[in-house]
Subunit: 347 residues, 2 copies
Amino acid sequence: MSQITDPAPVGAFPRLDWVDDLLTPALRAAVESLPTAERLVAGYHRGWWGADGAPRVSACGGGKAVRPALALLSAVAVGARPAQAVPGAVAVELVHDFTLLHDDVIDGDALRRHRPAAWSLFGTPAAVLTGDALLVTALNTLAQAPAGRADAAVRELVGTLLELVVGQSHDVAFETSHEVSVAEYLAMAAGKTGSLIGCACALGGALAGADSVRVSGLREFGRHLGVAFQCADDVLGIWGRTAHSGKPVGADLAARKKSLPVVAALAAPGTAARRLRELYRAPHPLGDAEVDLARHLVEEAGGRRAAEEEARRQTAAALRSLSLARPAADAYRQLHDIARAMTRRRS
Amino acid sequence: MSQITDPAPVGAFPRLDWVDDLLTPALRAAVESLPTAERLVAGYHRGWWGADGAPRVSACGGGKAVRPALALLSAVAVGARPAQAVPGAVAVELVHDFTLLHDDVIDGDALRRHRPAAWSLFGTPAAVLTGDALLVTALNTLAQAPAGRADAAVRELVGTLLELVVGQSHDVAFETSHEVSVAEYLAMAAGKTGSLIGCACALGGALAGADSVRVSGLREFGRHLGVAFQCADDVLGIWGRTAHSGKPVGADLAARKKSLPVVAALAAPGTAARRLRELYRAPHPLGDAEVDLARHLVEEAGGRRAAEEEARRQTAAALRSLSLARPAADAYRQLHDIARAMTRRRS
């Protein structure tokens, strides 16, 4: 989530140095346990070093690590020390990297976090195998958590992975499908984005030894938050200053991606929606003028408003779920701040 | 393993119809639980239907399913009904398919089981995502095994997956490495081939509720058997009538793959080894005459004999390990027959 370019004062996204302090050594150890070739690709992908393995001075660490932060804070929320959730924090970040590496291959996206995507530098075989290695390392990281909690943690991730790949499958299928309903979009986003963020929160609770009611509240908090984030990110992808993943703004429209504002607009009545449907039927990628027109039509057909409302609804549902986990007050405040930072309007 | 073309009488490979009867419905259900696009690719890959989804009359079911057979027989070996091991049988077959789909992408192999590889028909993105989906479905299949046994089964597979990807990584690295020792080759084969066959046997025991000593004996039996099979298959890939995976005989040599006979020959003293090293340094793939010469040089340098001896050693170690599992007599006989069929000289 390094892509968030926010007009609010610097620091509005909660600074959690202690998250980095706990996460980074464990994440480094996990990546450095990989065979040489996959270690190079994984560390490049995270921004730790260049394609030649030379450390980058301005290494930002591959994003804000919001999933690990949620895992650690979820442990605090149920009264534990955040260190107990470190295997969960590492696992969800590794799984996130697995999805990014494979998704860039699948979508043919040549840019990631403002740099060449791993496959475009190292080749598709290296990106595929590195993704596999990160996924498997994530599972092993959880399997090595303290006995009595490891099995539940692995099970949590295994269920999440199924949702993730089904969500990714639907996302790919949407590109060739003329009709996608808002409900289908939300189910896809719940799988592709909500499941892993929900898993991060649930793992934090589970590794801290919380009971199933609290773990479930944390999981639902994360799931709704993930969908809310995806809705907000879709808006940013069309009207923001920098789209998600370091891709240029408008890339989603140029590729005629069925993000939520588009899906909502395409399903709307009226002239703007009709013209948008015609534009989206064109056999070629859209040029700059067409992207500008599409952006205008999506807004006029109510797509932006619909996506922003959905983000608000999902955020509210997230916070209601969080209260079921009976979080400690300080952790609640921090989780609440992260939720706001992930989903507020940024343009 | 549909590739075994054996001069011995038909039926020398044990016919285990009851394995198919137990495996097929559960495997079908698992594949049919996938989203539409991945279901099509997975079933094509297994030989169940063509690229258009039309059932194949002569569908042979994607090989002899030796891993599932080993899982089911391992349950019988520790005194259980084979049905108890069905989730393990399904999981190892799904993981095997995951590795084949991704390996064909990674190696650029356009043929699999005498048909176009999935990626060459459906595209790399489809093959990558289908592989991911099969891996994740395998984990979920085990996670849904009866409570009390599911967690141990998932843990067994998770550890195996780490060995698998490390083994595949080393196999890829070998292609660009001039020096590979026999020890390095055997470690690679233990990861890439031995780990999953060992996992099949261990899962059969674990799902049957066997104690850890018996499970460990079964696991080691399968690991050694897997390495033995890989050694024998490497020999077949150079001197057999049909190489593994439905690729033409000599393909390994043409691509200058570092299979065991080659690794052993390259490390040998003498003129033949020296000439082979020169041939393997050529910057181009080998032509037919060069492949014939390489085959001759590998044999003269002792590579074939070394690989056949290693296969015998590993088979003997496998059978010693099996006895530690104190298998029921009838199951022992059947496991022994499978081991012999997987590793005997076939040319």
